[in-house]
């Protein structure tokens, strides 16, 4: 048995559930943002919307969901295609590099959103 140390929650079932819940949250967030933008926004109303605590929490929730959703999704992609079978022995190193790199990028994105919303 190979122990998976790069999956999100160390459990496939838990990853599966988090992926879906996060997906629904992201759908709601982007649906709301698209609806707002299509109705037309100016700087004042856009700024006021994001000063609202409920919207700040919604945005942070979406950012957290994005980080988890993308971590799990990219894990599935990397472990399927960046493998020793597909790429030879270098596949293992490349996969680990991509996983560490993508997780770091996701963490930076998350901190960036927090800084924008509450900074």
């Amino acid at each position: 048995m190979v122990t998976q140390i790069t999956s999100f929650s160390r459990s496939g079932l838990s990853d599966w559930m988090i992926q879906r819940v996060a997906g629904v949250i992201l759908l709601a967030y982007f649906g709301f943002v698209a609806y707002t933008l299509l109705n037309g926004v100016g700087y004042a109303s856009w700024k006021a919307l994001h000063a609202n605590s409920a919207m700040r929490i919604f945005t942070l929730l979406a950012a957290l969901s994005f980080a988890a959703h993308a971590w799990i999704g990219l894990w599935a992609v990397f472990t399927d295609y960046l493998t020793e079978r597909m790429l030879g022995p270098r596949g293992n190193g490349l996969r680990r590099l991509c996983q560490i790199g993508s997780v770091l990028v996701l963490l930076v994105y998350l901190l960036w959103v927090i800084q924008i919303i509450w900074g």
Binding site: K47, A70, R85, M86, V113, I116
Partner: protein, 190 residues
């Protein structure tokens, strides 16, 4: 083979990173063998042998693309005609990777839009250019496609449309709706 050696081999199997099952099998009282199976292939080493590094001993049952191995391939997916469901699945993955790559731009846009009135106007000006509009359309289309096929995933998780016919129908609905969204985004943006 002694118990200590089993652990030795198990550690090497873990190190090889292949998803294989390690089964310690006792055939006779006097002949203990380690058996490694994956799909239909079975590899084993006798009890009195020193365990060989599995990383070198074990060979993939499907021909590695990046090796000079000339043995026949058990399942060559490139030789098959893939169903529409396979294309929707791979496009879901591609659009997901695309959205991950592009998400930095979206956060940058959020930052610009909230930093000051000046940066908000700058962003609006930037987004009115033809390249920015094309990129915006690609992001909106990719996001709607990923969301639509994601919703299909969840519907199938609840047990609907899990047959081949249901899967094909679901894939067609996703493509039809995604094209509709792409056209609508085009109208909204231009």
């Amino acid at each position: 083979m002694r118990a200590a050696n089993y652990r030795h081999l198990a550690a090497r199997v873990n190190f090889s990173r292949f998803k294989i099952a390690l089964i310690a099998k006792k055939n006779f009282a006097s002949e203990e063998r380690i058996v490694i199976t994956r799909m239909t292939r079975v590899y084993s080493c006798a009890a009195d042998e020193q365990p060989v590094p599995v990383k070198q001993q074990w060979r993939s049952p499907v021909k590695p693309l990046a090796s000079a191995d000339k043995r026949p391939v058990n399942l060559d997916i490139g030789s098959m005609k893939l169903p529409i469901t396979a294309y929707v699945s791979i496009t879901h993955r591609l659009s997901g990777v695309f959205l991950f790559v592009i998400s930095g731009l979206l956060i940058w846009a959020l930052d610009m839009s909230l930093a000051s009135e000046q940066s908000f106007d700058d962003l609006a000006l930037t987004l009115s250019g033809p390249i920015a509009k094309t990129l915006l359309w690609a992001i909106a289309t990719g996001l709607s496609y990923h969301a639509l096929s994601g919703v299909k995933h969840i519907i199938m998780d609840f047990g609907y449309g899990e047959t081949m016919e249901g899967g094909v129908l679901g894939a067609r609905i996703v493509i039809a709706l995604a094209i509709t969204f792409a056209i609508v985004w085009g109208i909204v943006i231009w």
